[in-house]
Symmetry: C2
Subunit: 218 residues, 2 copies
């Protein structure tokens, strides 16, 4: 499958298709037209066809999409047909929440351990997963090949820790630290969840909405 040049914006939309198709599947739908999918998702049918054409199309003229086939195909595109070994760096509130995240394991993401620099936490468990001392990270990775690391530590230590992860063969970092990691793109992929950025966008939009309300009142 040639998908190396799929635009980032299309990739960002794929999980949303996957969610909507999953909902349709759960409701027992066997097929869906692009018009119906368009109405549900609030994007144009033409956009849907364009997006899916990046991966081969999947639709049939006059029939629409087979929900289960499309769900499974998009699942494969999104790597949902595989299992992943996952470690969580940081056993604080966010690290614990991610480790306990509903369905996290059911989806094929297998947490094997958490790491924390607080020695008092080493030896404890979170949701049954062992919490190890952060100094053991490099050694651990040598013996336990790990696909994905979730970074939930403050930004101060995040950049250094990320380097240890890459040296240890981790190929994917889910970065919750409030810092941009500058890592070699041919060795590791990074997806950021910058919560404070997200909250500030919300505050921006709130200010904008209130500005509109005020000008309507004048």
């Amino acid at each position: 499958m040639k998908d190396k040049k799929v635009p980032a914006a299309v990739i960002q939309r794929m999980p949303r298709y996957y969610r909507y198709l999953g909902d349709l599947l759960a409701k027992g739908a066997s097929r869906v037209s692009s018009a119906e999918l368009s109405r549900r998702m609030g994007i144009t049918a033409s956009q849907i066809r364009q997006d899916l054409n990046h991966f081969g199309g999947f639709g049939q003229q006059g029939y629409g999409y087979n929900v289960e086939v499309l769900y499974n195909e998009i699942g494969k595109i999104l790597g949902q047909d595989q299992d992943y070994n996952v470690i969580v760096i940081g056993a604080g509130n966010l690290g614990q929440a991610v480790s306990k995240y509903t369905n996290f394991n059911k989806r094929g993401y297998k947490v094997t351990a958490l790491f924390d620099s607080n020695p008092a936490l080493a030896g404890t468990t979170v949701a049954g997963y062992p919490v190890l001392d952060a100094t053991e990270l490099g050694e651990y990775l040598k013996e336990n090949p790990t696909d994905i690391a979730v970074l939930t530590i403050p930004k101060a230590g995040a950049v250094e820790t990320a380097k240890v992860l890459v040296e240890g063969g981790v190929k994917a970092i889910w970065n919750f630290a409030s810092v941009d990691l500058d890592l070699p793109q041919d060795k590791v992929v990074v997806v950021n969840v910058h919560l404070s950025d997200s909250l500030r966008v919300l505050s921006y939009k709130l200010r904008e909405l209130r500005g509109q309300e005020d000008s309507e009142e004048v």
Copy 2:
């Protein structure tokens, strides 16, 4: 300030400028050229000038940007010069993590209460904040004007709860539920943090990286 038509992509980048300027400020920098900011942030100087021009520019030819002035101006744009009353819907792991989120209060986001549909949690506290029964939400909002609600409940109840929030005058929803809320845009703004979508984008990129590695080995 005329900023109603600022493109969404520009808005998404503003918190990142704010972070980098905050770092520079913490390091004692008083001014920064667009070339230097460009190098640090990995975007072109021309892009930076274009982005900031949406809000009036702020730079001076041959001088660059005054770090503190620009930091404060972008802070105002992002509504960081105000305080917000915040409630958190869902007192599970994620709701607790958000409530305890480092600096959450320091930044002007004041959590006043959490709500949960589990009656066993009502009457408890999280980080000092009271957990109230979800059935009390409508009444609470009548007596306690609330700016922002954080939705950390499963998608099943999220849509109904969002309606109660909007009826109760909440103007901004930070939505962690894995569902798109369909709400009147003139009454409420929504920013989504779809964690499962984000993790699937990471899996996509990991699969893509491994595909590249495989083809290099052939």
